[in-house]
């Protein structure tokens, strides 16, 4: 699948934002957040800004961005619609949390509601991909936990960058290990899993024997090949996986440990940026490594994986 910039920004930035909301809620329950008056406001608004930036970026790849409001209507059947509804709704408890923090109010309850809404939004986002049967690298049980863990991990790191302190940093370090492990097992799974559909089942000609394309319907590229026929060399994929793990998980952990030792805000911000960059590469791979059954019709030349 073509790794579109707008959709990668959407899932990485909004994932971090909603993850921040979750930890604002959870750490609030345990009284593990700094009590400064500015902190809750800054952290909540940063979380909402990240998620809003993601939702805004996603409209850039639309053919008709001015009609985007229509996307909230089909929540009964469409995960994309559910993501839109939940994402927009999360702003309410998010802003209410900032207001309650500043003016005084039940921040714990509001924080938990905001966190729950954020988590549900990320889950809907994951289900958009996990429900697409033609793409086997997406339609599996690894995708939902991966999205949730990466959102929680990047959220925790960004909360540290916003000044959340030791508890969030420790959660970030633990989640880095868990999320990296989840990603690794996802990669092992997609490498080992066999395609469900074949060129024989796609054409129904398997009874005659092995099927191979003789002539394509068109001599030039078309929408299908550009959008669904994106091919990335296995060699590059392997290297990029290692880069994603190092930049996105190992580097932030080292920076967080240094930050804990010398209490450096610069370290925390650098960790957050590294995590975002690493997860950006991870998400790029999530698209680039995904193969669509339509490429079967164009033969092995296209169905590289």
């Amino acid at each position: 699948m073509n790794p579109a910039f707008s959709v990668i920004i959407l899932t990485t930035a909004s994932g971090a934002g909603y993850g921040m909301l979750v930890w604002l809620g959870v750490l609030g329950v345990f009284g593990a957040l700094p009590q400064e008056r500015w902190f809750g406001v800054v952290a909540a608004l940063l979380a909402l800004a990240l998620s809003a930036a993601g939702l805004l970026a996603s409209t850039f790849h639309l053919g008709h961005p001015e009609r985007a409001w229509r996307a909230i209507s089909q929540w009964r059947s469409s995960w994309l619609s559910r993501e839109g509804v939940l994402g927009l709704f999360t702003n309410l408890p998010g802003v209410a949390f900032a207001a309650a923090w500043w003016f005084g109010g039940p921040t714990i309850v509001i924080g938990l509601v905001a966190g729950l809404c954020g988590l549900a939004t990320v889950a809907s986002q994951a289900m958009i991909y996990a429900s697409l049967k033609p793409i086997r690298q997406w339609c599996n049980s690894y995708v939902l936990p991966n999205f949730l863990l990466l959102s929680l991990y990047s959220g925790a790191i960004w909360l540290v960058a916003a000044g959340a302190g030791t508890a969030a940093a420790l959660i970030g370090i633990v989640l880095a290990v868990i999320a990296a492990g989840a990603k690794w097992s996802y990669w092992r799974f997609i490498d080992a899993a066999q395609p469900i559909a074949t060129i024989e089942s796609a054409t129904g000609l398997g009874a005659i024997g092995k099927v191979r394309p003789l002539e394509d319907p068109h001599t030039e590229e078309n929408y299908l090949l550009r959008e669904m026929g994106y091919v990335i060399g296995r060699k590059h994929a392997a290297k990029l996986r290692v880069i994603a793990l190092v930049v996105g998980f190992a580097v932030p952990v080292v920076l967080l440990v240094i930050g804990l030792a010398v209490a450096g805000v610069a370290c925390a911000v650098a960790a957050a940026l590294a995590a975002l960059a690493g997860i950006y590469i991870e998400r790029w791979l999530f698209f680039a490594e995904a193969t669509h059954t339509v490429t079967l019709y164009y033969g092995q030349r296209r169905a590289a994986a």
């Binding site: 008709h64 009609r67 229509r70 469409s78 394309p213 929408y223 299908l224």
Partner: protein
């Protein structure tokens, strides 16, 4: 509404005969011709008369080789929307632009409310939907609703443009929900099949397999090699 309507009795669709299709692309060309000025107009082309032409087509004709040696076949294979009974392209649509009609099962896009998110094209295993980069909306086969119900054209022409154009009569249009219809009979007779049944989309369109090639006749018994004068006569007569 992107919920799938309760299955109706009527399931309009196509039956494509892979035995008789000659791969002339007339169906694809007539489809483009009709639909670039019909319900889905325009079907945009970029660089139509230059290098790297690019554009929306609702029907694409592939050609495959299947099998090995004497048993191998060359098969021409038109690919278009199958108007599935479980169309995920419809349920994933966030706006309700993509829908399946209860009355005849045709899957359509309302281009006036499509936001062009392309998710429906990702959800289709068959690559039936193509994005119109110029108009910013998704395009797909309409089964020529503007022909099949069009009372302004003579009745024999009220079939999809691809069916009307086929010179080999490899394309058949009808109600696959009615077991007594000509198309249903044809599917039953010839062992019509679904494409990628493992995906669970339950396509309405069916494909008919290439017929078995007749067994080659038994080799003619070669006469005993002649000798002498007979050999000479044989050689003269064989000239």
């Amino acid at each position: 509404m992107t919920d799938i309507p309760a299955p109706g009795a009527k399931k309009l669709g196509l039956v494509i005969d892979l035995d008789t299709c000659v791969g002339c692309h007339a169906c694809a060309v007539n489809c483009k011709e009709w639909n670039t000025s019909g319900h889905s107009a325009p079907l945009t082309d970029f660089n139509a008369y230059q290098d790297h032409p690019d554009g929306v087509w609702l029907n694409r004709v592939h050609t495959y080789e299947a099998g090995e040696g004497l048993d191998s076949r060359t098969v021409h294979f038109p690919r278009s929307c199958l108007h599935c009974e479980q169309p995920a392209c419809v349920t994933v649509c966030p706006t309700g632009a993509s829908y399946k009609r209860a009355e005849d099962g045709i899957v359509l896009v309302n281009a006036d409310i499509c936001i062009g998110c392309k998710l429906c094209s990702w959800a289709c295993p068959y690559g039936a939907r193509e994005f119109d980069e110029d108009q910013g909306v998704m395009r797909k086969c309409t089964l020529c609703i503007d022909r099949i119900y069009n009372t302004n054209i003579p009745e024999p022409e009220r079939v999809p443009a691809c069916v009307a154009a086929c010179p080999a009569k490899a394309r058949h249009f009808g109600d696959l929900g009615d077991p007594d219809s000509a198309v249903s009979q044809l599917v039953a007779e010839r062992g019509g099949f679904d494409l990628m049944p493992e995906m669970g989309y339950k396509p309405v369109n069916k494909y008919l397999p290439p017929r078995q090639r007749p067994k080659p006749a038994a080799p003619v018994e070669t006469p005993r090699a002649a000798t002498g004068v007979l050999r000479w006569i044989d050689r003269v007569l064989s000239r």
